[in-house]
């Protein structure tokens, strides 16, 4: 079982997303995260899917995705060097001495405080999923009010497109 990051270019049409999601649920493939948004070409969406599976299953996942009529290209980014980023917004209790502590921690992780009240901070943090996990672990669990994560987006290294 390996973790794979799959990039899918697909027609930006109603129903295309549910075709991909439906394929994963119908065939019992695992999805850890899935993001989708239009690209620089308005008619094309790009989807990043985080999944796990044996080599045989991954081969099927890629083939089945390719078979969808609206899918233009499928690429397993984990096969080569790539960059992965995820955005996390996290709201934490911040009163008294905690305010300074949380701010320092956010600085260490290169996060930014983007909203402040007298009792809370909202922090924006980008990085790999691992880094976001590490930040969450570094916080006292009692402090966390709310977390929202975007799911990973990823792109290959180098000058070429997928």
């Amino acid at each position: 079982m390996h973790r794979h990051i799959i990039s899918v270019l697909l027609e930006n049409e109603a129903g295309a997303l549910s075709r991909v999601a439906g394929l994963f649920s119908a065939r019992g493939y695992n999805i850890e995260a899935m993001t989708v948004a239009p690209t620089h070409e308005a008619s094309v969406s790009r989807m990043t899917i985080l999944t796990q599976g044996s080599e045989e299953i991954m081969e099927q996942v890629l083939k089945q995705l390719n078979k969808l009529v609206e899918v233009i290209r499928v690429h397993d980014l984990s096969e080569g060097p790539h960059i992965e980023r995820e955005l996390m917004l996290i709201k934490v209790h911040a009163v008294g001495s905690d305010r300074e502590e949380v701010k320092r921690l956010a600085d260490i992780f290169r996060g930014r405080i983007i909203d402040v009240t007298d009792r809370s901070y909202t922090i924006e943090l980008t990085g790999t999923g691992e880094k976001l996990d590490a930040f969450l672990h570094a916080l006292d669990p009692g402090m966390v009010i709310e977390v929202v994560r975007s799911g990973a987006s990823a792109i290959s290294r180098g000058a070429k497109s997928i």
Binding site: L10, A26, E59, N66, K67, V69
Partner: protein, 579 residues
């Protein structure tokens, strides 16, 4: 201001663009696509389309009695002709009733275009009367589907739907059309071709891989061809026969592949799999090279995967890359259209001088397995054996009938005892296993080939799942011959209960059966009954003599006969239960 009174002269050429309503566009596009027959059932959302259908004669509409039957009939029309089948149903229940038919076609890769009506665009999502999310419901059982929100997209969508249905790995494509779209007008021009950047099926196989495959076949001591529905769908039976004869190798067909190679030929071993012949299954387990063409290693074919063809290098040719190495790891994969691939293989085989190898020892072994006579049964003069009925049907129709079947024991007996020498003569629901398929399928085949003898081999369980279609047969004077192997049980369920559920026959007994002879007569047909073996031949002869009438033959057969051989689910192919 006075309006011009003279009528403008209209050109009939379809190259001239003209303003048409959505409904007119649907009908014109079907005509431009060469569609002659549409199977359907009207309803509120498709009334404009029906109105237009009624105004012309190029496209004939066949009114069924249930939407499921419309799709099965269109499906069988396609299976018997190779053309794309077309069904037309209304929104809501019309669409949901069609789903079983669509899923049936999807599992067997049958090219269909299914047009469903939908509530007007403004009402979509409002839980309107007869509204259902048709594209949502059918997404997992269609090759692709469309909801057409704009009449300007209608013609292109229909063109694309036909192209998608028939190309690559074929399959059903659904077009959902809101009622208001069928009333709106736009200029009509039927597109010449389809360009899809995201869909480009592979046709030509990789030549290097084909050479490798042929080299394996040439060096094999125990080669075996295993071919499926792909041979039928790609119309490559002739090319296959040429290659198999050249190689002098044995060949077995899947349930879907029957007729892809002449059943009467010495090299044919019969069907393989759960109810395959002893010689076919043993050959799979002992071959050293297995050539899988247009087959997908279905669980009913392979039995226990970890014991399947344990000594074989596997060559697999399929138009669908996702079918390759899905269930079984393949040594030589080839993606391509079988017709193109087989033509190239035949040329290469000639060039490489393949076919002079001696397979005498392999054939001696196979002949020994054949001696087992695994399909043997004994017909006494008291109880009709179901196998005997199929055998007599085969003899008396000289093997020339189109045979449709439902699902269960009778289906297996039809597959085992009716030898198909030609493709597109055997029409059954292999993948989904849909009871109720047989009679509407016979209608579709009979509409496609009015001159052919069409026999529906069925059981008293299956036939009742779409028995209402006897009425359609009457309306269109379809002279179908129904051969009902009536054993009073859901026979295949009963067989499994006998073997694997300690003879507890839960709900497999059918009490209160109708009198099928009277039922047939009530629908205006002819009913005949055979109660003892001596009746079988005269009943079939009489039915065939009544060329222009539909005849329902009710054969009261041995109630507890089983289908043999049988590989229990999950067992290796060599672990067969034999007679």
């Amino acid at each position: 201001m006075s309006a011009p009174t003279q009528t403008r002269e209209r050109t009939s050429s379809s190259t001239e663009t003209e303003e048409l309503t959505g409904a007119e566009i649907v009908v014109r596009a079907l005509r431009d696509e060469g569609v002659e027959t549409v199977f359907g059932y009207p309803g509120g959302a498709v009334l404009y389309i029906y109105d237009e259908l009624d105004k012309q004669e190029a496209v004939q509409h066949v009114l069924v009695r249930h939407e499921q039957a419309a799709v099965h009939a269109a499906d069988a029309y396609s299976r018997s002709t190779g053309k794309v089948g077309v069904a037309l149903v209304t929104s809501g229940p019309g669409a949901t009733n069609a789903v079983t038919g669509i899923a049936t076609a999807y599992m067997d890769s049958i090219p269909l275009v299914v047009i469903t009506g939908q509530v007007p665009v403004a009402l979509i999502g409002n839980d309107a009367f007869q509204e259902v999310d048709t594209v949502g419901i059918t997404r997992p059982c269609t090759k692709h589907n469309f909801l057409v929100r704009d009449v300007n997209e209608l013609a292109q969508t229909i063109k694309t739907a036909f192209y998608l249905a028939a190309s690559g790995r074929p399959g059903p494509v659904l077009i959902d059309i809101p009622k208001d779209v069928t009333a709106k007008r736009c200029r009509y021009e039927y597109p010449e071709k389809v360009q899809l950047r995201s869909y480009k099926p592979t046709v030509k196989g990789h030549s290097g891989q084909l050479r490798k495959a042929l080299q394996l076949i040439a060096n094999a001591e125990r080669p075996l061809f295993y071919t499926g529905g792909g041979i039928i769908l790609s119309d490559s039976a002739a090319e296959l026969t040429q290659l198999v004869r050249r190689c002098d190798a044995p060949i077995t067909n899947t349930l879907m592949g029957l007729g892809g190679y002449p059943a009467s030929d010495r090299q044919f071993l019969g069907m393989l799999g759960m109810h395959g012949t002893y010689e076919a299954n043993m050959a799979v387990q002992h071959c050293d090279v297995l050539v899988a063409l247009g087959a997908r290693f279905d669980d009913r074919v392979t039995g226990n995967l970890s014991h399947f063809a344990p000594h074989a290098k596997i060559i697999h040719v399929d138009v669908d890359p996702a079918s390759i190495s899905k269930n079984v790891k393949v040594d030589v994969p080839v993606v391509g259209d079988l017709c193109s691939v087989l033509r190239e293989m035949n040329e290469l085989a000639e060039e490489m001088g393949i076919g002079d190898g001696s397979l005498e020892r392999w054939w001696a072994q196979i002949e020994e397995w054949r001696q087992r006579d695994c399909l043997h049964y004994t017909q006494t003069d008291t109880i009709i054996k179901p196998q005997y009925v199929v055998q007599k049907l085969f003899e008396l129709t000289a093997g020339n009938a189109i045979v449709t079947s439902d699902v269960g024991q009778h289906q297996m007996w039809a597959a085992q005892f009716y030898g198909f020498d030609r493709p597109r003569r055997w029409i059954n629901s292999g993948g989904l296993g849909t009871m109720g398929f047989g009679l509407p399928a016979a209608m579709g085949a009979q509409m496609a080939e009015p001159q052919s003898t069409v026999v529906c081999v069925t059981g008293e369980g299956s036939i009742q799942m779409n028995i209402q279609e006897l009425s359609t047969c009457q309306q269109y004077k379809l002279p179908i011959k129904v051969a009902c192997l009536n054993n009073g049980y859901l026979g295949m369920v009963r067989q499994w209960q006998e073997f694997f559920y300690e003879e507890r026959y839960a709900s497999s007994y059918m009490d209160a059966l109708p009198d099928f002879v009277k039922l047939a007569e009530a629908y205006g047909h002819i009913g005949l009954r055979a109660e003892k073996p001596a009746d079988v031949e005269p009943v079939i002869r009489e039915a065939l003599r009544l060329k222009d009438r539909m005849v329902f033959m009710d054969f009261l057969v041995d109630r507890t006969e089983n289908v043999y051989p049988m590989v229990p689910a999950g067992a290796a192919l060599s672990d067969m239960i034999l007679v």
